[in-house]
Symmetry: C2
Subunit: 232 residues, 2 copies
DNA sequence: AGGAGTTTGTGAACGTGAGAACAAAATTGG
DNA sequence: CCAATTTTGTTCTCACGTTCACAAACTCCT
């Protein structure tokens, strides 16, 4: 039997839990902003849109930060989750591909407020170089190496067309970027040890379309089956 | 025992499989574009970035569309998946909130090419009304009802600030929209039978940050544990 | 026609995640 | 100080998802 304490850095937090921690963090921030100092697992679960048993189990992987009979101290729990995720420090981020989407991302204020700092905007199109978006200048893609080394960047965002994405990823990996957020509709091949997460609008829409089609077709027999594929 | 044939509309496709079908569809389109007529499960799995056993099991939920010893006919399989997802028909979509992100979405060509048609752009800001984005005029949010009824819209996209999102969702649900894609960092409450999918940039970055932190910390003891949280 | 080789479709084993249920630990009121 | 009440942390069970492994089914070559 191996028991792992909350200060043991080797303890493993399930991936499904990791994906929910940012949601809890946001919910706690909202509670704090509305002046609430303490909350029960039930309260927080409602705010985060999950089941309270699941919430408690998730939090138990981090440690024992609640008080039985009372609940959780909002600020304290928020700090503990932020520390666990690693957003008490600032993460430098580069964005590659400053087209429609890249512009929107560069303008997104939610970056800064959640522990991420855009240190550079890069594009291969000479026509864009020098332009300033949200106070950051667009620079040539070739400066990637210099920028990553200067700011010790570990996280890269790809917002180029799909065809360019693998090339950009290869270049990022070569200089030591180990986490990539990919908006291009392409499957990226990367070596072991590099994390890739993708955000794909059309996949999300197609998933919705699938369920939508079933709702429409199965109005008779499959109605029950369609409904439980259901909501939030 | 209940056996469900591929033509039985009540058969259930696991949610995890549904989420991968669009990826297969894209991979098949790429193969078709490069002139490939037939492919094995191994080929397609590589192109889609998944394990070939998983791919075969996923496809088996749709029916038996391959030929043993040969593989899959690219065009035929592509059509079958498209039909299953429901993207052989066009889905009308409305986008609400034409700010930074809404502009990018409206300009996104991947919508049209994958079976979705933007029938309206809506915003509450009078200053934006009348402006045209990608050939579609921005109209007042109040026209939502009329537009949804005219075009029989089932899918809505929310790209407003977080505070406005729940209100927009309520209004969408009230007129009969049953699928929502939400870009605002807010938990939406919707009735049973309405599907919500969320796309949240900062959650994705925070998940990357968590793994990044572990890679950095655990350089010694937790290296193995960190690595297997690892890559694609 | 028959055997060698290939590749699908699926049964079975394994691992991960969700939710119900409850004991343990705290508070509150008498 | 003790009993009643609240709420956490954890155990147990079930459902879902992944992967292996292989028989069945097909092609191709001789
Ligand atoms: N616009 C959206 O709402 C949206 C939504 C979902 C997905 N996407 C995807 O995001 C990506 C970007 O979309 P977009 O609408 O901004 O496209 P875009 O064409 O407007 O912008 C792409 C940018 O990438 C740059 N670029 C091209 N090759 C490059 C390279 N090798 N290195 C560096 N920069 C390079 C181009 O110069 C251009 O500025 C696409 O893959 C698209 O499919 C976009
Ligand atoms: N910009 C990004 O890259 C990005 C990334 C991730 C998430 N988001 C999220 O997406 C949302 C939009 O981001 P943005 O940068 O485009 O913001 P934005 O402020 O540029 O645009 C928001 C738009 O919504 C409109 N709006 C506000 N209330 C409305 C209402 N009740 N009905 C209809 N329209 C309304 C505003 O008029 C504005 O045009 C935000 O919730 C943001 O957190 C943005």
């Amino acid at each position: 039997m191996t028991t792992r304490s909350s200060t043991d850095p080797t303890r493993v937090i399930p991936e499904a839990t990791v994906a929910r921690l940012p949601v809890y963090l946001r919910a706690l921030t909202a509670l704090a902003d509305s002046g609430i100092r303490t909350c029960s697992s039930e309260d927080l679960a409602t705010a985060a849109g999950v089941n309270s048993a699941k919430l408690r189990k998730d939090l138990s992987y981090l440690g024992s930060y609640g008080t039985r009979g009372v609940g959780y101290d909002v600020d304290y729990l928020r700090y503990q989750i932020a520390r666990e995720i690693g957003v008490t420090q600032d993460w430098p981020v580069v964005i590659v591909g400053i087209g429609n989407l890249g512009h929107a991302l560069a303008n997104y204020s939610g970056f800064r407020s959640r522990g991420f700092r855009v240190v550079a905007l890069l594009d291969a199109d000479p026509g864009l170089i020098g332009q300033t978006v949200a106070g950051v200048a667009v620079r040539p893609f070739d400066e990637l190496e210099a920028i990553v080394q200067e700011h010790d960047v570990a996280i890269g965002v790809i917002a180029t067309p799909a065809l360019a994405a693998q090339g950009v990823a290869d270049r990022m990996v070569a200089i030591g970027i180990t986490s990539i957020l990919n908006f291009a509709p392409a499957v990226l091949a990367v070596p072991e040890g590099v994390d890739v997460r993708k955000v794909d609008l059309s996949i999300e829409l197609q998933i919705l379309a699938y369920h939508e089609q079933r709702k429409a077709n199965g109005a008779g027999a499959a109605a029950a089956a369609a409904a439980d594929g259901g909501a939030a």
